[in-house]
Amino acid sequence: MAGFQRVDDGRIHVHVYATPRFKTRHFNVKFVQPLARDTVTPTALLPYLWMEGTQSYPTARAIMERADDLFGATVRTSIGKRGDRHVVEAYAGVPDEQAFRGATGLFQQAQALAAEVCSQPVLEGNAFPQRHVQREITLHKRRIESLFDDKIAWSMDRCLEAVYQGERFGLPRLGYVEDLGQLSGEQLRSVHHHLLNTADIHAYVVGNVGDADRAAQDVLTLLHAALERAGGGASGTDRTAAAEGPVNPLAHRSGDVRTVVDEQPVNQGKLNLGFRTGISCRDDDYPAMLVCNGILGGFPHSKLFVNVREKASLAYYASSRLDGLTGVLAVQTGIEINNYEQALSIIQEQVRAIQNGEISATELAYTKHGLRNQYLQANDQPMSLIDLNFAGVLAGQARELEELLKRIEAVTADDVVRVSSNIQLDTVYFLRNEVSRGA
C-alpha cells in the first residue's frame, strides 16, 4: 500500500497521503518545539488565541461562520504534547465536493483558512488584542482547572506527573494557572512569532487530492506565503526543534518506587501504575514491547482484564498502554477503595508472570493478531494515519507499516520475556475518598 509521500523544504516537511477512499479531505499543520518551563504556558495559549480572529475574519464568530459556509468545514486548533515536545496544531477538514452544488474549490479554501488561522492572527499594533487575551486567559484557567473533573484522566495525569518528575516530559500540556496572570498581548505575540520562525513544521494532507506531488507543492506554496506574511519566512536562523534531534525515551532511574495518594470525595478509587521501559518506537525491541504491553493489558484477552476484572470482579476497566515516544507503560483501573491492596497485588503479579515466562501460546497469538488489526484499521482512519506517521517522524524512525507488522509477527515468547525485564515500576498512584480524621 502506498504510504505518505514526503517533501522536505528546510524546516517545513509536507506529508501527503493521496487516496480516493475518503470523502473528507484533511489538512493538518503541526508546529513542533521543545517543551520548556518558561514557554509552556504562553505556547499552550496560542492555538486558542488563533481561533479568536484572523486578519480576514477578525472575530471568533467570523472564523466559525466562514467554516460553516464551507459546508460545515471543521476548523480547529489544539495543543499537544508528544514526548518532550510541544505541538501546536491547526486542522481543517471538508466533505466531498461532489456531494454538493457550488462546492468546487472547497478544500483549497479550507486549507487557506487553516493557514491564515495559524499565521495571521488579528493584531492591534504589535500585540494580540487585549480583549482576546483576557477572554482566552479566563477560558484557559478553566480549561486547566476542569481537568480535575474527569477523574480517569486526572488520575492518569497525576501518575505520569510523578513518573516524569523533574524532566521536561513532565511539563503539563496546557501549562500552569500561575503563569496566566503575567501574560500580555505583546509577549504572546512574540512567542507566536518565535514559534512560526523556529519550529519544525509538519503539514499533513490526507484524502482524495489527486496527484500527491502537486498537493505537496501547493501546501509548500501556501505555507511559505503564510510565513512570509507573518514576517519571518521559513528560514529562521534560531535553534529549531530539529536541532534537538529525535525524542528519546525516559531512562530508567535508581531509587525507590514512589507512592502518591490523593484524597477527594469520590465514589470510586482510581489505581494507576507508571512503569519505565526505556524502549521507544525507534528501538529494535519496540515490537516485542508492544506485544508485551498487549499481553499485559492491551485487550480483553489480556492478563489484566482476565485477572482483575473477569476473575476477581474488582473493576470494570483494567488496562495498560505504552507510550511509543517516552517508553512509559501505564496501567489504569477503577476499583472499590477498600480493594486497593488486592488490586495492586494482582496487577503486580501479572507483570511478574510475564517476566517469569508465563505466557501461553494463545496469549501471544491473540495479542499479535490484535496489534495487527489495530495497525491495519489505522489505514482506514485518516487521523490515525497522521498520528502514527508523526510519532515515527518525532522518534527519528518512521517505519513503514508493513515493516512494523512483519516485526510484530516475528516476536517470540522469549523476546517478550527478555524485554519485560526492562519494565521498572516507578510510581503507584491512588485516588481515594477522604479519610475522616478525628477532630
Binding site: F22, G93, A99, R143, Q268, S313, L314, Y316, Y366
Partner: protein, 436 residues
C-alpha cells in the same frame, strides 16, 4: 438481496430479510480494509415492562438489558472475546435506552468474525455463578459513572423532565436493582427480545456483499427459532410537563455544571417525520447556541460558559428531549439567559441567513462522517428501529424551511416542559494552583 443506490452520496446498500425475520444490511466501501459489523436488538433499558402474547405483563429489574449485554459474552467454552481475538477482531457492545448492539471491527477474517458474532448473540449461556460474578464488575461501572459530572447532570435532567417514563432511569440500573437479577430473568428477557425478527444486522467496510450475505444466510438457515414472540412494550402515561423543575447534585468538581432541557411533547413519530423533526430541532439549537451563534460568543466573553458548552437533541417514538448547557460560573444566570434568548427567538424568529448556514453545515458534517464504517453502522442501526433511513439525511435537511423552524421553535421550547440539572462542587478542595 436488494440493491439500493445512493448515487449522490456515492454509497450503496444491499439488504435482505431472511426467512427467520432477521433484516440484514450490507454497506461495502471499496478500498477499505476495515470491516465493522453491528448486530442490534430492539431492546434497551426502557423496555422494563412488557407483555408477550396473552401472558401477564412482566416488570423486570432496572438495568437488566445492560446486564444481559455483559453476560452474552459468556459461552460454555469461556469468554467470547477469545473467539474474536483468535481472528484478530476487536469486539464490543453497548446498551442504550432503546437498543442493545454487539459489534466487531476487523481487517482480516471478516466472514469468520461474522459467524462468531451471529453465534454468540444467538447462544445465551447464563449460570448462577457467572451472573453473580458480573455484579461486582457492573457495580464498578456504575460507580465510575457516579463520579462523572456529565453523566450525573444528564441523568439529573432526565429524572427532572420525566415523571414516569423509564428513560429517567440510568441504563445500568443501580447497585440495588442489579442485585435482584438472576439467570431465570435474564433468560426470560433474552427469549422475548433476541428473536431474529426483533433484530437487525449491519456490516460496513471492505468485503464482497454477495459472499458476506451467503455466509449470513447459511449461518441463520442452520438454526431454528420458534415463532416470533408478539411483544407489547408497556410504557407508562407520561404527562407533558416536567416533574421536578430543578435538581442539584454535589460532586468533586472544580466548577458548576448546568444542563437545561425540554421534554418533547410531540412524540409518536417514525420514519421521515421523525428524521425531519430531529434535523429541524438540531439546526435550531445550532443556530441559537452553536459555535457560530452570537449568544455563544457573548456568554464566553462574559465568562458565563466555556468551550465545553453544548446542545443535544434526541427523539425516539416514545420519548424525546433537547438540552443545552455545560460548565458555567453561574447556573442561575445561565438559566435566565437561555430562557430570555428563547423568548426573543420565539418572538422574532430565526435569522434566515443563519438558518441556511446551519442546514448547510449539518449536511456537510453528515457527508464527512460517511468515511467511517463505524459511524454508518451505528447510526443506520439506531435509526432503523425508528423507521428512518440514515441516507435520507441530506434530502431531509434540504427540504427544511425557515417557517418550519420558527413554528417548531415556538412549539418545542415550552417553559412548563423545562427542567434544569445542576452539579455543584462538593467541597472546598479545588485543585491546587498548579498545572497538570
Amino acid at each position: 438481496m436488494r440493491e439500493l443506490d445512493y448515487s449522490r452520496l456515492r454509497e450503496r446498500l444491499y439488504t435482505e430479510q431472511l426467512d427467520n425475520g432477521l433484516t440484514v444490511f450490507l454497506a461495502p466501501k471499496p478500498g477499505y480494509q476495515q470491516v465493522f459489523a453491528t448486530f442490534t436488538t430492539h431492546y434497551g433499558s426502557i423496555d422494563s415492562v412488557f407483555r408477550v402474547g396473552d401472558e401477564a405483563p412482566a416488570a423486570v429489574p432496572d438495568g437488566i438489558a445492560h446486564f444481559l449485554e455483559h453476560k452474552m459474552f459468556e459461552s460454555p467454552q469461556g469468554d467470547v472475546f477469545n473467539e474474536f481475538a483468535k481472528n484478530g477482531a476487536a469486539a464490543n457492545a453497548f446498551t442504550t435506552f432503546d437498543q442493545t448492539t454487539y459489534l466487531f471491527s476487523c481487517t482480516e477474517n471478516a466472514k469468520e468474525n461474522m459467524q462468531v458474532l451471529l453465534d454468540f448473540v444467538q447462544e445465551p449461556y447464563f449460570t448462577d455463578e457467572n451472573v453473580e460474578k458480573e455484579k461486582g464488575i457492573i457495580g464498578q461501572e456504575i460507580r465510575m459513572y457516579d463520579d462523572n459530572p456529565e453523566w450525573r447532570s444528564f441523568f439529573g435532567l432526565l429524572r427532572g423532565l420525566y415523571q414516569q417514563h423509564p428513560v429517567r432511569i440510568d441504563i445500568a440500573g443501580t447497585v440495588e436493582s442489579i442485585a435482584k437479577i438472576d439467570k431465570e430473568t435474564l433468560y426470560r428477557c433474552y427469549r422475548t427480545f433476541y428473536h431474529p425478527s426483533n433484530m437487525m444486522l449491519f456490516c460496513a467496510g471492505g468485503f464482497d456483499p454477495k459472499e458476506m450475505m451467503d455466509v449470513i444466510r447459511s449461518n441463520q438457515a442452520k438454526k431454528s427459532f420458534g415463532p416470533a414472540p408478539d411483544i407489547e412494550r408497556i410504557y407508562p402515561e407520561e404527562p407533558s410537563e416536567a416533574g421536578e423543575r430543578k435538581s442539584v447534585a454535589a460532586l468533586s468538581v472544580s466548577q458548576p455544571r448546568c444542563l437545561i432541557g425540554w421534554k418533547d411533547a410531540n412524540t409518536g413519530l417514525t420514519g421521515q417525520d421523525l428524521l425531519a423533526q430531529e434535523m429541524l430541532t438540531g439546526v435550531i439549537l445550532d443556530v441559537l447556541f452553536g459555535r457560530s451563534s452570537p449568544l455563544y460568543h457573548r456568554w464566553i466573553d462574559e465568562g458565563l460558559i466555556d468551550q465545553q458548552f453544548t446542545w443535544e437533541y434526541e427523539l425516539t417514538p416514545s420519548y424525546g428531549y433537547s438540552l443545552v448547557g455545560g460548565n458555567t460560573a453561574d447556573p442561575d444566570r445561565l438559566i435566565a439567559e437561555v430562557n430570555d434568548a428563547l423568548a426573543r427567538a420565539a418572538a422574532e424568529g430565526l435569522p434566515e441567513e443563519a438558518f441556511h448556514r446551519g442546514r448547510k453545515k449539518a449536511m456537510g458534517r453528515f457527508v464527512g462522517s460517511l468515511d467511517s464504517p463505524n459511524f454508518i453502522a451505528r447510526s443506520f442501526s439506531s435509526y432503523y428501529f425508528k423507521g428512518v433511513d440514515l441516507f435520507d439525511t441530506v434530502e431531509v435537511l434540504e427540504s427544511l424551511t425557515l417557517q418550519q423552524a420558527n413554528e417548531r421553535l415556538r412549539a418545542h421550547f415550552i417553559p412548563r416542559q423545562q427542567a434544569v440539572s445542576i452539579v455543584l462542587p462538593k467541597a472546598v478542595d479545588a485543585p491546587a494552583e498548579k498545572g497538570r
